[in-house]
Symmetry: D3
Subunit: 135 residues, 6 copies
């Protein structure tokens, strides 16, 4: 029988939301306070869900291996970072949705279990999910 | 790629659970303390999940627009309310399940993204989900 | 050496805030939505802190004894209750502050350890403490 | 319309992770500190999700009936237990995954609503889901 | 009898920790990743505790009045802000400790109840308290 | 001005509560399920509060230094441990109260700020505080 493992990580980061090609008034209308000139930040929580048949050791996958992979691909890159200064957000607004898509792509190649979905919490009131969801 | 946005709201309300047509003994057996004559209350937490392709602004949908819609359709109606005195619960027991169905119907016409499901938390131990779930 | 034990309980209840002698306009100004005519409710969380030297069993006090005392004095009385209909709130507004004072008085006679203070959480955003605090 | 009810339970228990047939070095490599000789423990949180059409009483199912079933089948068995000493884990590593499979099997025969899935939280960072999930 | 009211607020903000007069190596040694050049951010949670005798309305103080005061003095200033660009942190490192001192000073003049202390949560693992504490 | 820093740590461990000199009936009466023969466990949360004037860097104390001290003195010793097998609990019941006293003593010699108190959470419903509290 298959089981789903969800592992939770945390990292603080900062961003400013604005479209370089839009007018200041347009950016203010769309992004409100998130468009404040010097940026603001969040304590992001990331949940990674992988699935698989249990192995000989009674586990979905080796946990240190998952942690090492997520740390190398995601945490080391985004922990204490200013998202606007990263190349993957050149010409793209670093909304939490876009950050989520980026993280999902970075985690797809995990070899020890099947990546199902990620959930990225921006605040206690806002979260985003990407991956295998209902059609 | 599609993303799912979940937004969390809170509102306190009160209710009393009983079937007007049932005997007092029957109501006591079915609803226990929830049948106490003058009602009791909860801090409800409501999570609304909508989905969509990211728009030009890198978002599932405009958040202030979602908030305005949920506030007008749900929060203004149920915040600090006694559910038993609302017309939609005339002849219907205002269980959290029935409140959830009512909220789901009220939110279906949201135009800026697809309503997927709602989750209504009655206490830390009890929650209900309605909408697109597994078959 | 002394230790402080804090034990957490939960109970839902409902109340309506208004001063019978005040005008409707005055009640609306002071209590806002909390003055809605049929009441509303909360999931209250109660934390009871007691202190003492550790006994032979390595404990501040016998936990089942504390639970039985708090259940008899507080939980059985307020769980699933409408506070406005209780005699101790006749002529008194059942604010969470006043409920806290009432609970504190009810718990003072606990014999197995010293009652230090109580904390009563109305919502995640509001809580009240009563008892031995800083001068 | 169908609704999903999720109910949350908690129980502390202890376990030691090791394969009797594997060498000490192998067990240390796979399980790390979880292989410490005298075991360690967790406060497990169990979420049980059942679904159904709302009944006459406006409920997915009778809550005391669900609680009695889960208590008899799961809580009484695993609350304050050392998992390694239970017969179902003879020859099987009592990982939280395996405990989850065992709990899922024990809950399948619930008659008052359809068991959809369980979620077992080992720590705030780790949880497992078993049951009706996406394909 | 006196009661203590604690009210919780949330605001995201960003900061970069470094001493302008210190060498880069020194800043890196002291602040680690918090010294990353473009800053990072947090979802701050602020708890404000005030005390007083209950008034005629059964309250420590008028809650909308407290909210308006904290919003004007603190939230409007720090919500979605980059702390390094604010005049009060010119020549001062915007650590959460220093932000806490600044917030405490801004709240001292509240007239409707006695300010006791503030608690500022930077992450789930770190918090700071300032005000009337034990000697 | 002084500030108080509280830092949160987590570690799972297991224990069995019983007095070797007491009869089985007596142990059962006092400790109930906590006396189960093979032990059970918890995810302990430890909060360490230290205080001090802010230093040149705007901090109560160097956080990595505090973390290293707590890790060496407490976490490495109790993480994934069975408390009953540790020498400090020979002839002493490893209740969470006694574990708290032990942890408090181990942390007193911290040199970079004043240890004020510790708080040890056994479950969401139970916690213990030791140190500088109200008289």
């Amino acid at each position: 029988m298959k089981a789903y493992l969800t592992r939770r990580y945390r990292f603080p980061a900062s961003h400013r939301l604005f479209l370089p090609d839009a007018s200041e008034a347009e950016n203010q209308r769309v992004y409100g306070k998130c468009n404040n000139p010097h940026g603001h930040g969040h304590n992001y929580a990331l949940e990674v869900t992988v699935s698989g048949q249990l192995d000989l050791h009674g586990m979905v996958c080796d946990l240190p291996r998952l942690d090492a992979f997520v740390t190398r691909e995601v945490i080391e890159r985004y922990d204490h970072a200013n998202l606007n200064h990263l190349p993957e957000f050149a010409g793209k607004v670093p909304t939490t949705e876009n950050l989520g898509l980026e993280i999902y792509e970075r985690l797809r190649s995990f070899g020890a279990a099947r990546l199902e979905r990620i959930r990225l919490e921006e605040t206690r009131k806002n979260s985003f999910e990407i991956g295998n969801m209902l059609p």
